[in-house]
């Protein structure tokens, strides 16, 4: 089977997965007792939005089919998704969810992507170094740091990073993703610089756990590879130690890491959610959290669905990457 048809089949297979996930998310929306429209009215009056007119509530009932059976409600909820209609956010004064997502989704993807890149860029060389200098002092030190890195939860790390940067480094580039004066402004050079200065904190807090993890795995992989006969052959040929390690060893040792990207993604996204809640970034995490606190389950369910779809696509991408990087992989559907 060629690569293209493999990709096509994988895409086709992920469609039913997404449909089932959307049903699960909708089930979640339905879990809390009570009527969405009533909850909306109660929330609007409690947050000082004034009393909502009965007509408006009737409109919401109509929009979500609240007095109709589960399947019709479900259909009314999902049918807009392909066209970009994600409903309205009750906890945000009825703003269309699509508008919020348009702003926050790219930011979320951006941060997650760079956290992953950060993790890989740091972990791979260190892992390789650890493996080629096995049982050296630095190897022990790095292993120790890696274990701590795995054990310390991202959100606690975020808290510590905030405190250190504000009180000891005197940095103001902390929390949020750009300074207050740039909120709602179009992107220009100054805003971009400001944005870049805000980036290190979340990326470190999110990436550190995966960095530590990858480092351990890379070290293990590399040690395994170095024991293989073809490495001995390479040495016997008289290749330099560098050529043996990098050209023959590292190239093989890196494959399992690529196949693990699919495993990393959910963990990175989960950490990103918690960290961005602590750092108050304008990504999906805090939005999800706020919607849960406000019991706006329609918004929460929609976000959960969006994140899951991102994950499905991420896994797809990881599989394709693996298929390209490792020609030994047969294009088999598991």
């Amino acid at each position: 089977m060629g690569l293209l048809s493999y990709v096509a089949q994988r895409i086709l297979l992920s469609i039913p997965v997404i449909i089932v996930i959307s049903i699960i998310c909708f089930g979640l929306i339905q879990l809390p007792p009570g009527d969405y429209a009533d909850a909306y009215a109660a929330l609007a009056s409690s947050t000082g939005g004034g009393n909502v007119s009965n007509e408006y509530i009737q409109q919401i009932r109509e929009r979500y089919g609240l007095d109709q059976p589960f399947w019709i409600q479900y259909w009314k909820w999902v049918k807009g998704f392909p066209e970009g209609d994600f409903g309205i956010a009750m906890s945000l004064q009825g703003t269309p969810v699509a508008d919020i997502l348009k702003e926050r989704l790219p930011m979320t993807l951006f941060i997650n992507f760079w956290a992953l890149v950060f993790a890989l860029c740091i972990a791979l060389p260190i892992g390789l170094y650890s493996a080629t200098h096995k049982y050296s002092l630095l190897d022990y030190l790095l292993t120790f740091i890696a274990f701590i890195g795995i054990a310390i939860p991202g959100f606690i790390l975020a808290v510590i990073i905030i405190a250190i940067s504000i009180f000891w480094l005197d940095s103001t580039y902390i929390g949020k993703l750009y300074s207050n004066e740039y909120i709602g402004k179009p992107w220009n050079f100054d805003k971009t610089i400001d944005f870049l200065k805000h980036l290190p904190a979340p990326i470190i807090a999110i990436g550190i756990a995966q960095t530590s993890n990858t480092m351990r795995i890379m070290r293990g992989n590399m040690l395994d590879v170095l024991r293989q006969p073809f490495i001995q052959t390479a040495r016997a040929k008289g290749l330099s130690e560098n050529a043996v390690n990098w050209r023959h060893g590292a190239r093989i040792a890196i494959n399992p890491i690529i196949s693990r990207i699919g495993v990393y993604l959910p963990e990175i996204i989960a950490t990103e959610m918690l960290v961005s809640i602590v750092l108050n970034l304008n990504t999906i995490g805090p939005l999800f959290y706020d919607s849960l606190i406000a019991q706006d389950m329609y918004l929460a369910g929609t976000i959960l669905l969006v994140i899951s779809v991102i994950l499905v696509l991420g896994n797809l991408l990881a599989d394709i990457l693996l298929a390209i990087s490792d020609p030994r992989i047969k294009y088999e559907l598991m």
Binding site: I21, L28, A151, V159, A270, L292
Partner: protein, 366 residues
Amino acid sequence: MSGNSDYIHLTERQLNFKKFLRHKVAVFSSFVLFILYLMVIFADFFAPYGMLTNHKYYLYAPPQISKIRFVDNEKNFSWRPFIYRQVAKRDPKTLRFIYIDDTKKKDFIYFFVEGEKYKMFGLFESNVHLFGVKEGKLFLFGTDIIGRDLLSRIIFGGRVSLSIGLVGVLILVILGTIIGTVSGYFGGWYDNIIQRIIEIVRTIPQVALWMALASIIPKEWPSSYVYLGIVIIFGLISWAGLARELRGKVLAIRRADFIYAAEISGASAARIIRTHIIPNVFSHIIVIATLSIPIMIIGEAALSFLGLGIKPPMTSWGLLLTKLKEVQTLKHYPWLITPAGFIVVSVLCFNFIGDALRDLNDPHSK
């Protein structure tokens, strides 16, 4: 393996135990965890004060653990450690409480000190605590906003933090084992459906689903129900990994001759699974279970930290960290981060033990 002839007489379990002892870090971790669990089980005895006791003249008192001394300012040495009594004063400018050591008053620290009354497990009444001072107050890790001893709260909070992993994992193991082995053993359409379900459950980000479900727990429920609810949520959602791994193992074992032999002898499927399959995959179950506990400990901490998990009057390590959401807290009261240390240590220990067990189980895997 060394050529020691004693090994011949050892059962597999004894052999594995010997091998485990060779993992020094894992043995040490087990010891640390043993102490931690002992502490939280007998929390009333180990904690110097009650979980909710507030000392109203000691709001945000700093930790005294670094102020324990054997030599006083006049260079007199005493074998018994002591602390200078902490006295609260108001800062004339900021009106905040500041604490100074009164060098005239030495409070000696004793073991088995009589203090607050408690009823252990609601059965044994006593007032003996492991350590404490007879006069004055002793706050090794400082106090919180309303003057509750942080160390005592960490010990009581550990009951929730450390037990949620165990109970959650118990549910995970039961579900994962049943679903995984049955799926691997019977195969066919049942296996197909289970595999798809596992795939889907693994696609939804676990923490997000935990958060969503935890937020549905009614706010008016008492703490103990909330605790139960969270344990069930953790267990119900995390079985997919175990089930998937077990299915693979069972598929491999299923083709072994001894399973055919059992089938030919007329053993029922339930019997084969119980007496032949489960014992063979048991070590895998233990490894995955051990490595799942820290995930749940961190999960509980995150949920409680965000206010979606355990709620007062119960407490947990995550809930104790809630105050840190405000940036200034860590600057003014840095000791409030101590519970995070307990989280990291217990997670580390479980990870070390899990890694060692995995090594025993499958020396080739990494």
